[in-house]
């Protein structure tokens, strides 16, 4: 399969505080990796470093064949997005293709088709012209996932995507992720939902006291559940 992401001796400091201490791990293509840890343990910091939003203090993050940093599909925490922002679903999903535009100013036909395909893939084509602010929590999350899908064909990174979702929406959302993973996407997700064992991924990255440990899911659950 080959590596999607290789993290080598990555350390991240905030002032005198070491948030991540010399982390090394490999995410293989088509892995579904869950990042777990207590609040403030550095989960979001780690994915920010992978996304290039934050410069590590030392170490490096490199990408495998066919994976580029600017074409990672990223789904931020819901709280980071203004849920009453005046925008249509299509405007939001289309913006996912901006990383592919290069220096061009306007969207091409291919970008619009890609955005429509993302909507179709998640079964929300009928929401295309709806206002984002009028959608339910579960629908909003699917729209943001569609935007992330429009950005990538390889790698999705999700920051606590199930926060603020009710039980049914959460189950449905995880089922969608599982299907996307089966179809070939590599997924990295910060989550607290290890109780839905059959819906989560094959690997767990656990962060505790700035140390990152990598387990298979079954090994992790056997040790800690």
């Amino acid at each position: 399969m080959g590596a999607a992401i290789v993290v080598e001796k990555l350390s991240i400091n905030y002032g005198p505080n070491k948030v991540i201490k010399s982390a090394s791990f490999i995410v293989e293509k088509q892995d579904f990796v869950c990042i777990v840890g207590a609040n403030g343990s550095g989960k979001s910091t780690l994915i920010k470093a992978i996304l290039g939003l934050l410069k590590p203090s030392s170490g490096k993050v490199s990408f495998g064949d066919g994976v580029e940093q600017r074409s990672i599909g990223f789904l931020p925490q819901e709280t980071k997005v203004d849920l009453n922002f005046p925008a249509t679903v299509f405007e939001i999903v289309l913006s996912g293709t901006l990383g592919r535009l290069g220096s061009k100013a306007f969207y091409r036909k291919a970008d619009k088709e890609r955005a429509l395909k993302s909507l179709k893939r998640l079964g929300i084509s009928e929401l295309r012209d709806e206002s984002f602010s009028n959608l339910s929590g579960g629908q909003k999350q699917k729209v943001l996932l569609a935007r992330a899908l429009a950005a990538t064909s390889e790698l999705l990174i999700l920051d606590e995507p199930s926060n603020n979702l009710d039980f049914r929406s959460r189950q449905s959302f995880y089922a969608t992720l599982k299907a996307l993973n089966k179809a070939g996407l590599t997924i990295i997700m910060i989550t607290h939902d290890l109780d839905v064992e059959d819906l989560i991924g094959n690997k767990i990255l656990s962060i505790k006291e700035a140390k990152v440990n990598c387990f298979t899911t079954s090994e992790y659950l056997r040790r800690y559940k």
């Binding site: 600017r70 005046p86 913006s95 990383g99």
Partner: protein, 271 residues
Amino acid sequence: MNSLFEMFSYAFMQRALAAGVLISICAALVGVSLVLRKNSMIGDGLSHVAFGAFAVATVCSFAPIWFALPVVVAVSFFILRLSGNKRVNGDAVIALLSASSLAIGVMAISLFKGVNIDLNSYLFGSVLSISWSDVCLSLVLTVAIVSLYIFAHNRIFAITFDPDFAKAIGIKTNFYDAIFAITCSLVVVLGMKLLGALLISSLIIFPTLIAMQFSKSFGRVVIWAVLVSVINYLLGLVVSYLANSPTGATVVIVNLVVLISSYLFRRITAK
């Protein structure tokens, strides 16, 4: 009708019309990003800084616009940098800068009583103070900002909606933040002569708030904001001429009435 013809037969009204329409377009465009990014108070803070800079420039016999521009641009960079720092209370810094700049301006004017300065025109604007060179500057600014919105509209949307995502997909968010800071400063400095330090921020904020009552798409909010801004300015200018009222305050009140009416209209029609 005769009053309208008479009104625009005066050269100062022609200048106020031209500069006002151009600044209304710019303010509306800059305002969409500021309001939706919840940075509305930056416009207000910068206008107070501009007042201080105008007053100091006049007392020192510098050209007010050319002195105020770099000062306001520098302060807007400073505020924008602070707004990205979680350890600093950005609102408090803006409030401090506003009050301090106002105080410096008033102090400069009161210490140099020999200088003939109409404090009211700085605080509340004056259509009489608009020159043709102000109109030309406004035209250049409008062409620049409209071009930016046409050619970078998609990127501006992405940065306004979700800066983290925009940065992750390779958009140079720092570059666009710098452009926002510069354009916002230019709008405030040029608009201050027209509406004054205390009222110019309304021209930035009201149109977006009104446009959001009509439309739920970003593209349409931008277009509506520009239309509403220009129409409300024209209405305010005509009413102020006919009622012999201060232009800046009249434009703000027109905007306020339109905002309340559109909000009520939306609430009633939504039921």
